[in-house]
Amino acid sequence: MIARPWIALLGPQRFVPTVADTLARLECEGPLAVVTAGWQEREDEDRELRDHVGRPVVNLELYRRAEDVFARDPDLFAAHRRRQDRLLELQDAYRMRLGHAMAAARELLRRIEPAWALDAEREDAIAAVRALDEHHLARLETVHRAFRAEVRPSDRVAVAEHRSDLAERLAGVAALAVAGGHVAILLNRLRLFDVLSLAPRLPVIAWSAGAMAISRRVVAFHDSPPQGPGNAEVLDAGLGAVSGVTPLPHAERRLRLDDPVRVGLLARRLAPDVGVAFDPGARVLFRGDRFSVWHETRVLAGDGRVTAWRAS
């Protein structure tokens, strides 16, 4: 159940921009706050987005603000680096276990006979991967909790000043847009300033890494990387503004959607969340405890197919 009037998750915007149309359909008028921190140094290169939405845009400049905070508050920066190091160490350990767990699950899914023996093993192997993902997610959250307890970011002067300014800017807008880009950097900046808590009733429209960051957990994925086996990984805890879906931006390009074993394994691994293929044009709208799907939005099914989504 979300407290906001609505949250819209969209597919990538470069070739099929849908932000303006989505806002219009939702009768959302007025200025738009945007977070483009995932673009890093290019954060302020938002001309195309401004032209597309055709309304006043307030860029919250979270990337620049974070750089300012890190420069002014070395203790916070040092704690931030320590946290990042710990997250990396956890990721390495998780990856070691994940590789074996995924190889076992994939092998069992590819074999058919003897069914009497393999069916139960297959289910258990997938459950083991799911349990590992949740275990890893819980450990990541522990690191974040420890960081918050130690550093209390919102109480730090530099952060508090920016938060105060951000609150003012958010008070004058009709919606908050979160663009894609580098998902870890975007997530860190959103977390540092706890942006979502500054405007708890504001509608949110997010795409690509933005959609990943505001979900319950961030799953990084690519089926055909030039190096490594291409096992999707739980990368971090998300901000949890929406739950029940795992956004998979650029699924057409990044996943082997014609490989039912890979598709089925990922879908069942993500369950009970739904793995949504956020390709250009895809849109999912959340209102209260319901979500609806616009246009052709596809999901990964446990049987290995990629099907048009019929949401609640």
Binding site: P12, R14, F15, G38, E41, R42, G180, G181, H182, V183, A184, I185, S208, A209, M212, A220, F221, H222, P225, P226, Q227, E233, L235, P249, H250
Partner: protein, 378 residues
């Protein structure tokens, strides 16, 4: 498996119309599983396949189908093979080396062009072909004043798409840079791999030699030119990450020798090496039989084999199984590994040519300069 050419030859009397029909809409050479049928049509006294596959006779005769002007040769090639070749057509005492007129596939190199046979399982990588979606990088030119070499040298510099002065980029120095652009589609490869997030956005310096066989043959002047002149000039002009792990040398054939030699003379400077089909000739005892141009190379490789040191941190080494340098490349790998460097060695069923080197770039560059594939979703 009954081959198409067998079906034709077993028909009995074959006329020109039968040959026309046989060749119509047919891709030549004919690929049927591991069997490759090369064809030539025309009056000749003999036809030979000329290729550069180590292990096979370099000139193989075609057979003429009785009563026709159609010649054929069946060769077995392992899956994934890619072979460059020409046809030698003999008429009287005249021998003419030509590209296969029935095969539109060609590969160019600085000496001209060859016909290409792509065996079963070989695909031209999609990342090596211009992708209209990929943002294009730009190329500009800088001048390096006389120093190690008596004349000014021009160096072309590839800047990745969305290049920004506020970022710090890795630097890749590419020997035979213009040839890599022309014959190995280096700009398309970099544009695509950066766009696909598989390779970090990087600056590439495209080096072109003056006297290649001298400068790239372990010439200390070249090492000085690269390490003491090109790198400082680039670092002064572009926002580059100056750490060794963000600085790479790359080259093929003699270019690979030049890259390894420069790194060997300047240990700790170049943390990444991409060495393709290196001409790492050596002699365990006595001389060598590769000609005088290899003398300084052999001298260097022999010295390197005695004392490799630790010239770099991470190396990607590749070689074609069908080229004569496969022995030398296989020999150098354990030596590199024993020196404590991280080495990845890859072989391909291909020869000593630019498309072989192109086809290995994704694996090599994404390993040496990994991009943010897992983290960026735009």
């Amino acid at each position: 498996m009954r081959l198409a050419i067998q079906e034709l030859t077993e028909r009995g009397s074959i006329g020109p119309a039968d040959v026309d029909g046989f060749l119509r809409d047919r891709r030549v050479p004919i690929i049927e599983g591991p069997h490759v049928t090369f064809l030539h049509r025309g009056d000749a006294d003999a036809v030979h396949l000329q290729h550069w596959i180590r292990g096979l006779p370099s000139s193989q005769p075609f057979r003429r189908i009785e009563g026709t002007d159609l010649w054929y040769l069946v060769v077995d090639l392992p899956e994934g093979s890619r072979v460059e070749y020409k046809l030698e057509v003999v008429r009287g005492d005249r021998r003419e080396l030509v590209r296969d007129p029935l095969n539109p596939l060609e590969a160019r190199d600085p000496f001209g062009a060859n016909s290409v046979c792509q065996a079963e399982g070989y695909r031209t990588p999609d990342w090596a072909v211009a992708d209209p979606e990929a943002r294009r990088g730009t190329i500009e030119e800088i001048a390096i004043p006389p120093g190690a070499f008596p004349e000014e040298r021009r160096v072309r510099v590839y800047l990745p798409a969305r290049f920004r002065r506020t970022r710090r980029y890795p630097l890749l120095l590419v020997h035979d840079g213009t040839d890599y652009l022309r014959y190995a589609a280096l700009q398309e490869v970099l544009d695509n791999l950066v766009y696909r997030l598989e390779v970090a956005p990087l600056v590439a310096a495209l080096l072109d030699p003056g006297d290649r066989l001298r400068e790239y043959a372990a010439d200390p002047a070249h090492a000085r030119f690269v390490a003491d002149e090109v790198v400082p000039a680039l670092e002064a002009r572009y926002p580059l990450n100056a750490r060794p792990e963000a600085r790479g040398l790359m080259g093929a054939s003699f270019g690979a020798v030049a890259a390894l030699h420069a790194a060997w003379l300047r240990p700790g400077t170049f943390g990444r090496l991409l060495l393709q089909s290196g001409s790492f000739a050596f002699s365990d005892i006595g001389g060598h039989d590769r000609g005088a141009v290899f003398d300084p190379v052999v001298e260097f490789v022999n010295a390197f084999r005695r004392e490799p040191g630790r010239p770099s941190e991470r190396l990607f080494v590749s070689c074609g199984q069908y080229e004569s340098l496969i022995y030398e490349n296989r020999s150098i790998v354990p030596l590199l590994q024993a020196s404590g460097m991280t080495v990845r060695y890859v072989e391909a069923r291909d020869g000593h040519n630019w498309e072989n080197w192109r086809d290995r770039l994704r694996e090599g560059l994404s390993w040496l300069f990994p991009g943010p594939l897992w983290l960026v979703y735009e």
